[in-house]
């Protein structure tokens, strides 16, 4: 473990939070732009050149709005919900490597050897708030799932049936999708033999990206992340058409709502970072990053590569929002429980076998393809998902076309 230096850590914390906040501000602007462009509109273009000052105007508006706490809410939890949402979203970033990192050294047989590798490790610097945290990704997942508490607190304390419905849906959804989310990454961790994200990056530097060797896991992870972030096509907790505003209906447009929305975007950024680190090799880009000799330039290049990958995922988030319509609730649950969880379990099984018999990791690519197509074939054989309760079928009188009976009688 490199020595704890509070100045250095504090600097990184400040830099990360500051950058992320600025990033989110412009991410919201980008979201509005993409929404507009996809609908053949211009989007915000009035505040400042090309509307670039819009986030500042939005933020100012949020801060200046009156903080309204409706009379019928449970005040403590009502105020707590945005805090929980925002702090967990930010805390999850602590283990995420933001730029270049060095993997912590493995265990050593002797104390002297341990001292040497530790000293060597401490001489490098890693841009991660908590370097060499062994439970890295678990910590990130744990805090990510704490986000559901903010939703439940908000919905329940609002004392409003639409908010409660929204938060109920959200809790069911997030808990369901947590399973494939965690399972899909088990296959990856079996190969890296570490939960530490820096090691995961290092493994992919030495071998190849997990995107290529475990595409199915990537797909499952990506889909679960959309559900975890409440993004379309899984945005049932805040389906405006059905639920007014979802769990944050009772929050006036003040900073409390602002925090909720910021937390959602922060969650998006964290998960995009995770995806780029776990499946897309973190700061690596096919050896491109090692071409630069200068340490500082290399640092900048790695930072750029990683944030570039993260931004690509974020843009994908935005585009998918305007591509796939929202799922119905039973379809959402079917997808999680009948498709994604079995697939992720089979994927873990395959990874275990590949590890056990020391087969080349590329075998996983084939297995993924087989599982993927197999799932499709099963779906073709069974027809569309039907979750409607079974009704007693009345036989039609002879000579009638189906469907006409009820209209004509």
């Amino acid at each position: 473990m490199p020595e704890f230096n509070w100045q250095y850590t504090g600097l990184i914390i400040a830099a990360v939070i500051g950058t992320i906040m600025g990033y989110i501000a412009y991410l919201i602007l980008l979201e509005r732009w993409v929404a507009a462009w996809v609908q053949d509109r211009f989007g915000p273009n009035r505040v400042g050149p090309y509307g670039l000052l819009q986030p500042i105007a939005d933020g100012g508006k949020m801060f200046l709005k009156e903080e309204v706490i409706p009379g019928h809410v449970d005040k403590v939890f009502f105020v707590m919900a945005p805090i929980v949402a925002f702090s967990t979203a930010l805390l999850a970033l602590a283990v995420v490597p933001i730029g270049s990192t060095v993997a912590p050294p493995p265990a050593q047989p002797t104390f002297a050897a341990f001292e040497t590798v530790q000293a060597e490790y401490a001489s490098h610097f890693s841009t991660v708030i908590v370097p060499a945290l062994d439970i890295g990704i678990l910590y990130s997942f744990a805090l990510g799932s704490l986000a559901v508490y903010s939703v439940i607190l908000a919905g329940w304390s609002s004392n409003n049936k639409f908010s409660l419905l929204g938060s109920m849906r959200s809790s069911a959804q997030i808990i369901s999708y947590e399973i494939p989310l965690g399972m899909s990454i088990v296959g990856v961790l079996l190969f890296t033999q570490s939960l530490n994200l820096e090691t995961v990056i290092q493994y992919q530097q030495d071998h190849t990206w997990f995107l290529f060797t475990q595409p199915l896991a990537f797909l499952l992870f990506l889909t679960s992340v959309y559900a975890e972030c409440n993004r379309l096509p899984f945005d049932l907790p805040e389906a405006e058409q059905e639920l007014v505003g979802g769990y944050h209906t009772e929050y006036s447009n003040s900073m409390k709502l602002g925090l909720m929305l910021l937390a959602e975007y922060a969650h998006m950024i964290t998960t995009s970072f995770l995806m780029s680190i776990v499946f897309l090799g973190g700061w690596g880009l096919f050896g491109l990053e090692s071409l630069v000799e200068n340490a500082y330039a290399a640092f900048a290049v790695k930072l750029l590569i990683l944030t570039g990958k993260m931004s690509a995922f974020v843009v994908l988030f935005l585009l998918v929002r305007w591509t796939i319509p929202r799922f119905r609730f039973d379809q959402l649950m079917s997808l999680a429980w009948k498709v994604m969880i079995p697939l992720s379990i089979l994927n873990v099984l395959a990874a275990t076998l590949v590890r056990q018999f020391n087969i080349t990791p590329w075998a996983m690519t084939g297995v993924s393809a087989v599982l993927f197509v197999g799932a499709g074939l099963i779906a073709v054989r069974n027809g569309p998902v039907n979750n409607a309760p079974r009704k007693l079928k009345k036989p039609l009188p002879p000579g009638l076309q189906a469907g006409v009976t009820y209209a004509a009688r």
Binding site: V34, W37, V38, Q39, D40, R41, F42, N45, L219, L319, V320, W322, T323, I324, F372, V373, G376, L377, A379, V380, P384, P397, G399, L400, Q401, A402, G403, V404, T405, A408, R409
Partner: protein
Amino acid sequence: MSTTRVEKDVKWIDEPKLGLFENLYLPIVFDGLKTTISHLFTRKVTESYPEQEPTMVPNYRGVHRLNRDTEGRTKCVACYMCATACPAHCIDIVAAPAPADWVGREKYPETFVIDELRCIYCGMCEEACPVDAIELTTLYDLTGLSREQLIFDKEKLLSVYDQTVKAGTDPVRTQSGNLGPASDTAQAGVPKA
């Protein structure tokens, strides 16, 4: 029990059967993404309003104008047809005998006031007027700082005429020349029925 009818002209459409390709989701999602991305780069349909003035359709019903005849006098003969027709009761006319040198005219409006805030821009006044003295123009951006400013008197309405004639944005009736039989423009162009 009523007679059962089988409707012959009802066409029954079955849900399309999804094959393997559709059931794999991903190809379809990529197809959708292609559409989404292509829309990012298409020409936008938004008109940036204050910089880019919209062209209104010629039969748009905007601010009124009082037409002038060939000698520049108000064409209105103070017949009260428009005020009678107006469903919002927003036209107020005070008639007076026409000056002696106005040949062939008995009356003219001494005052002619339209409350543009009460008006519902239905165009009834335009329909009712026998001499096509009142018309609705294509001016759409009617604003004012007080209610009083939007009560238009005769001078204001005549000035709207001057303004629209100069700008070449005559409303559709004047443009098409399809005017009522009593209008002098109509008399000039179209032979009397």
